[in-house]
């Protein structure tokens, strides 16, 4: 990140797209831009060339607070053995999709 900023002077933005029938925005990549408006236009040019999206979100990468890989175990491992958190004890009818 630091090195990138020295090179271009433009901060990094993360790009999220929603497809025509997609329900949610999904992360598709990142780009450099001087400000959010420019990032939106760059996202249009870089990530919707094949008619993928009907809605774009851009977020400054610096504004994202992410979990650290070092804390992976304390963060996520405790849920591994708690089988009661999964709704696996219900009988699901066969004709219910997307479960």
């Amino acid at each position: 990140m630091e090195e990138t900023q020295v090179r271009s002077g433009w901060p990094l933005y993360e790009v999220f797209l929603r497809g025509k029938r997609g329900l949610n925005h999904v992360h598709v990549g990142s780009l450099h831009a001087a400000d959010p408006q420019m990032a939106l236009r760059h996202a249009r040019d870089l990530y919707t060339r094949r008619n993928e999206g009907v809605s774009i979100w851009v977020v400054a990468a610096a504004d994202i607070t992410a979990s650290s890989p070092d804390e992976k175990d304390p963060f996520f491992a405790p849920s591994g053995d708690k089988v009661y958190r999964h709704p696996t004890f219900y009988q699901l009818p066969d004709d219910i999709p997307h479960m």
Binding site: V26, M38, H42, D45, R50, G53
Partner: protein
């Protein structure tokens, strides 16, 4: 990746039913399957010349933008400009194909693009200008796309249904080109003192080429209801340019229009000296390997 996440990505790649998203792949005639007849009462020779001129504007301008490829300051800007160049190339293909249909001598878009000589090209001289820097690129694209959008807005109601459809499709593209250029003119004009001066200097170079866009066109005059009167576009284009220049804290540059030579300008087949070099680069491969495909 879970199944749900995968489905979310899948939804971005849904079949759109539009197989023409890329030009040059899988089809050879951009107007394939479209009724090619010239409407009753329309002067076919004038329609040929008119579509040729509008196609030449896009073809020549697109080539000038392509020459910027690998030279842009940022990867993202390069993609943006390549998109714009491809949009214009697509417009050129359809307009030259329409010119070939209206002419009725069996000339295809490639014949018209690659096997005509300099004096047969009818593009305005603004289209062939070599941008000396990024500010000229932005300023010239602003003028060109604002003018062409005003023109296509009128042509979308043309009495020639093919020209009307081409214009309606192109108007969306041009609205984006104009927005892209306006963003940069404002950003540079209203930026640092250095960027402001560079943008002002660039407009000073571009402005003499703008007058030609609004000069009377004898070809358009022969196509009532089909073509647009260039003089009519001036008010709309001026309003757009004034709004952008105002936001960019720039003044409309003084300076006399680029003179006609012996009464001729771009629409008469008269071009500036760099045009010959541009054409040589544009046509050399097609002329060395006629009818080659890949």
């Amino acid at each position: 990746m879970t199944e749900d996440e995968f489905a979310a990505y899948q939804s971005l790649n849904e079949e759109t039913g539009d197989h023409r998203w890329a030009f040059g792949t899988g089809f050879t005639d951009p107007l394939e399957g479209i009724d090619a007849s010239v409407p009753d009462g329309v002067d076919a020779a004038a329609l040929t010349a008119y579509c040729l001129a509008l196609g030449d504007d896009a073809l020549i301008y697109s080539h000038r933008l392509q020459q910027w490829m690998t030279r842009m300051p940022e990867l993202e800007e390069e993609t943006a400009l390549a998109n714009i160049a491809l949009d214009l190339l697509g417009q050129a293909r359809m307009l030259l194909a329409r010119a070939g249909q209206a002419e009725g001598r069996g000339r295809r878009e490639d014949d018209l693009a690659f096997f005509r000589d300099e004096h047969e090209f009818r593009s305005v001289r603004l289209a062939e200008h070599t941008d000396a820097d990024f500010a000229q690129l932005a300023g010239r694209l602003l003028v060109f796309s604002a003018w062409r959008l005003a023109l296509f807005g009128r042509l979308a109601a043309s009495a020639d249904p093919v020209l009307a459809a081409i214009a309606a499709k192109g108007a969306n593209e041009l609205a984006y080109h104009r927005d892209y250029a306006a963003q940069w003119v404002i950003r540079l004009g209203d930026g640092t003192p250095l960027s402001h001066d560079k943008m002002a200097a660039a407009l000073g170079v571009i402005w003499p080429l703008t007058d030609e866009l609004f000069q009377a066109d004898p070809v358009a005059a022969r196509l009532p209801g089909v073509a647009a009167d260039p003089a009519e576009l001036r008010a709309e284009v001026d309003a757009v340019l004034d709004a952008v220049l105002g936001a960019a804290t720039l003044d409309r540059p003084p300076g006399a229009p680029l003179a006609r030579v012996a009464g001729k300008a771009g629409r008469d087949g008269l071009h500036t000296e760099p045009f010959g070099y541009l054409l040589a680069e544009l046509q050399s491969v097609a002329r060395a390997h006629p009818d080659a495909t890949w």
